[in-house]
């Protein structure tokens, strides 16, 4: 709406698109801050520009050595890929099971305050650290191989599924809970007849999504010694076997794509 003062000032009538931040001082101020930040961050990074500049011809060289992808060692490739998928399956089921108690403890409307805080802290702690950090710790504890990878993926799955489960329970209407409690149901009966029917569809959906995410992550835990295709990929990079690396990468992309299709299909069936 234009005030009378606006219509007397022809410049103010000029149309412009709606800006997210209306005040130009703040808008350009923010832009200026971003520019200052850019100068500071690029300047403070210790970059070997000569080495980085040599990268561009190197990238071309690497690409030419990547093509055509080399599938000669497809036996090794498919064996390790299967290991990755198996790691994802195992971790997803164990994660699903372990997430139930943790999720129940992390729901503020079910658990007593101290239990809730401890459970939330566990979830935050396991979510904060990247899978690779967990993987290194597990490699130190149980040695190289798929066991460390499975444990890593279990940690990631438990924290994700239990967080979703806890949020789902917290959003439940209190009516049903009161009704079941009023019948004098024990805690177990309360879980079976009140929480389970309401939480199950979403819990299963989240778990299937997590299976898909685990397939994606199972390809990297190997880089730090967690077994599976990641280990072969890292080794091929170290040996400059770039055509084999590309073959592995293409296989991973295909696998992830299939996993995503399966997960979307399964979740749409659930609804």
């Amino acid at each position: 709406m234009s005030s009378p003062a606006d219509s007397q000032n022809p410049e103010r009538l000029e149309w412009h698109t709606i800006k997210l931040i209306e005040n130009p001082v703040y808008r350009y101020g923010l832009l200026g801050l971003v520019l200052v930040y850019l100068f500071w961050s690029v300047g403070s990074l210790e970059v070997d520009w000569v080495r980085a500049a040599r990268g561009i011809p190197r990238a071309g060289d690497m690409l030419s050595r990547m093509f055509p992808p080399n599938f000669d060692r497809w036996e090794l490739l498919s064996r390790e890929l299967l290991v990755s998928v198996q790691m994802a399956f195992a971790a997803s089921l164990f994660g699903m099971i372990l997430a139930v108690p943790l999720g129940l403890c992390a729901a503020s409307n079910l658990a007593p305050r101290p239990v809730y805080l401890v459970a939330r802290f566990i979830i935050i702690l396991s979510r904060t650290f990247h899978e690779i950090i967990w993987a290194i710790f597990f490699v130190k504890i149980v040695g190289f191989g798929p066991l460390a990878g499975v444990l890593t993926l279990i940690i990631a799955s438990v924290s994700f599924i239990s967080k979703m489960l806890a949020e789902d329970i917290e959003n439940m209407p209190p009516g049903q809970m009161e009704a079941i409690r009023a019948t004098g149901a024990s805690y177990m009966k309360f879980l079976v007849y009140c929480i389970t029917p309401q939480a199950l569809p979403r819990y299963l959906g989240v778990s299937i999504y997590r299976l898909d995410a685990n397939i994606r992550h199972s390809t990297v835990v190997g880089i730090v010694g967690g077994g599976g295709i990641g280990q072969v990929l890292a080794a091929s990079f170290k040996r400059y076997d770039y055509d084999f690396s590309l073959a592995i990468l293409l296989t991973i992309i295909a696998l992830v794509f299939l996993g995503e299709i399966f997960s979307n299909w399964a979740r749409s069936r659930l609804r």
């Binding site: 709606i18 970059v47 070997d48 190197r58 290991v83 990247h130 690779i132 504890i141 499975v150 990929l233």
Partner: protein, 270 residues
């Protein structure tokens, strides 16, 4: 209806699922258990390592406390580099993801081929983990933060491109038609008709991805792509566990704070 038929159709005890549904459900359960059992068996996990896992973990923990706070200065420098990698990577992403998002949205793509190309770029970018991208860019640019920035950017393109493309597909076509009716060029339609409608989504996903990228950039150093990961990896390999705990505390703090900042900004935008 005879009493027998009636009893069959309306049983005394109410059940939620028909026998057929129940049967299928149990087949699913058995199938899942079977697949997992087969996976665990063929993985051939060395269960005997579990016996002393508790001891090993306790041993690790006792070595980690008390933390050696003397390294805090070096840790903070490395953390700043980590944040720089995540932020610069996110900024690079915005510029690359934006045109690809237009290619991958059905209503703004040029033709079917460009749509397929756009979609393929998005899928490929998302399928390859940041750490794998980092392996690739370390091989190209050599170890250091430049490789990290590009790794972050290449992984984020798929994420941001997908969300922005979905937002473009859901815009109000009326506005676009109105701008077209004024005789605007294709670029003007993009700039005035479409961009303002998806701008909040662009800002929102950028901030969201930035917060994910902070977490991702903490591990880029393991493959040599800069940031706090280099320090973490070397202190771990030197078994300086009392320093590792300082690093973990620092990573925890920065990830939690960035998550908080991102949530606060996003709630103000949308």
């Amino acid at each position: 209806m005879s009493p027998a038929e009636h009893a069959l159709k309306h049983p005394e005890i109410w059940r939620r699922h028909s026998p057929r549904q129940t049967l299928f459900r149990y087949i699913w359960y058995v199938g899942v258990v079977f697949v997992v059992a087969w996976s665990v068996r063929s993985l051939d996990l060395p269960w005997e390592y579990f016996e002393d896992a508790g001891e090993q973990a306790m041993d690790l923990f006792t070595r980690m406390v008390p933390p050696d706070w003397d390294v805090l200065g070096a840790v903070i420098d490395a953390l700043i580099e980590t944040i720089h990698i995540a932020t610069l990577g996110t900024i690079v992403t915005v510029f690359i993801a934006f045109p690809i998002a237009f290619l991958s949205a059905r209503n703004t793509t040029i033709n079917r081929t460009t749509w397929v190309i756009g979609r393929f770029i998005l899928v490929a970018s998302r399928s390859v983990n940041t750490v794998v991208w980092a392996l690739l860019f370390v091989a190209i640019f050599g170890p250091g933060p430049v490789a990290g920035v590009w790794a972050i950017a290449f992984r984020s393109i798929g994420f941001m491109g997908k969300l922005v493309a979905e937002a473009i597909e859901e815009i109000d076509e009326g506005t676009v038609e109105a701008i077209e009716a004024t005789g605007a060029s294709r670029l003007q339609v993009l700039w005035i008709g479409i961009l303002p409608q998806v701008l909040p989504v662009i800002y929102g996903t950028t901030v969201y991805r930035w917060d994910i990228n902070i977490r991702e950039s903490t591990v880029l150093g393991f493959v040599g792509a800069g940031g706090i990961g280099i320090l973490l990896y070397s202190t771990m390999n030197l078994f300086r566990w009392e320093q590792v705990s300082v690093l973990l505390v620092a990573i925890f703090a920065v990830v939690v704070v960035s998550e908080f900042v991102s949530a606060a900004v996003r709630s103000r935008i949308t």
